[in-house]
């Protein structure tokens, strides 16, 4: 084994043999997220798409309030920080000022589906030519795991210690399905980033969204179902398993609206 390792170092460790490395568009500093958090992967896939399309100098991102509020520290592009939930409104203004720039918002579920519901729905209804990236982990991660609108029925959080009771706390909000019905929205999909296969699909979806923005097709909305192992009080691997078993049956992965047309229910990929 020792001989093999020596061989590997001399023969394989050449710049032309690199098949994957962290993109240079990510700033070289440690991410502030918890170990195993899907934010890091989502950030990296986003920057890989921007690198592939060579639009680093023409992309403006809007960071939300939440764990990813510090996204501008890690993404080496122009970023703005919006007030809580107001990222789609700010992105609307930026896109209208610079129509040839690529504008996206990167929001969590507490930001997009709770305080920012009005901004989200109206930006989608106006059909603004922006991309909304929605990270859904069913909980308010940054503030200590409180119940969010997207928390599943029966799911425990620090403000619903006996599980979410739908009789008093209401049902989880499927905002992705909600906005898919609006005519201004062109592309809606739901993806995940916990396995290599899902990461590849997420990257394809992000690429498609930015390509559609180039063609002025309308709003594209990408939900990424992610984990929050700190908020769910699990290890990263356990939380990924829990997400597959509990989140995916409710938040079914797959395309919801493609080319401005709703995808038939039977075609939506279920639990994978």
């Amino acid at each position: 084994m020792i001989m093999e390792d020596t061989f590997a170092k001399t023969e394989i460790h050449k710049p032309e043999n690199i098949v994957y490395k962290k993109t240079d568009l990510m700033v070289d500093r440690p991410l502030s997220y918890c170990p195993g958090c899907g934010h890091g992967t989502a950030h990296r896939m986003l920057m890989e798409v921007i690198e592939e399309m060579n639009i680093q100098d023409k992309t403006i991102g809007v960071s939300p309030v939440g764990c990813s509020v510090l996204a501008y520290d890690f993404l080496n592009i122009d970023m703005l920080g919006a007030a809580h939930g107001r990222a789609p409104a700010l992105a609307t203004a930026i896109k209208r000022m610079w129509p040839n720039h690529f504008v996206f918002t990167y929001q969590g579920d507490g930001d997009l589906a709770a305080i920012g519901t009005a901004e989200t729905i109206h930006a989608c209804n106006r059909g603004e030519n922006i991309t909304i990236i929605f990270i859904n982990n069913g909980i308010y991660g940054m503030t200590g795991g409180q119940m969010a609108p997207t928390t599943l029925p029966g799911m425990r959080s620090s403000t619903s210690p006996y599980g979410r009771d739908v009789a008093t706390m209401g049902h989880p909000l499927k905002i992705t399905e909600l906005v898919a019905h609006l005519p201004g929205v062109y592309y809606v999909t739901r993806q995940a980033v916990h396995t290599p296969n899902h990461v590849r699909k997420t990257k394809k979806a992000l690429r498609k969204a930015f390509e559609l923005q180039k063609e002025n097709k309308g709003l594209s909305f990408i939900e990424i179902v992610s984990n929050c192992n700190s908020g769910w009080k699990m290890t990263p691997v356990q939380s990924n398993k829990w997400m597959e078993d509990n989140m995916f049956p409710f938040y079914q992965l797959g395309d919801i609206k493609v080319d401005g047309k709703l995808v038939e229910k039977k075609e939506i990929a279920g639990k994978e």
């Binding site: 050449k14 195993g36 290599p196």
Partner: protein, 76 residues
């Protein structure tokens, strides 16, 4: 006979020990170390030469600490 060989290099100082890469590797090339890095995390490390350079571990790594090499080598 030509054979595809891969190798990974892990930036152990940036690894947070989340173990997501262990589940993604099809050949159990990665294991957690007994030592810790300067932040106190048990970091991921390569433990055998089975790597084919499939990039699965690097894709799921949230902190992007894994660099993957792949080369075609000729063996007799």
């Amino acid at each position: 006979m030509a054979k595809i060989k891969g190798d990974i290099v892990i930036n152990t100082e940036r690894c947070k020990g989340c173990e997501v890469c262990l589940a993604a590797c099809p050949f159990t090339v990665i294991a957690m170390s007994k030592e810790v890095n300067s932040k106190g995390y048990h970091f991921a490390m390569k433990v055998n030469g089975e790597c084919t350079g499939c990039t699965n571990c690097a894709l799921v790594c949230p902190d992007g600490v894994i660099t993957v090499y792949r080369a075609k080598v000729t063996t007799e």
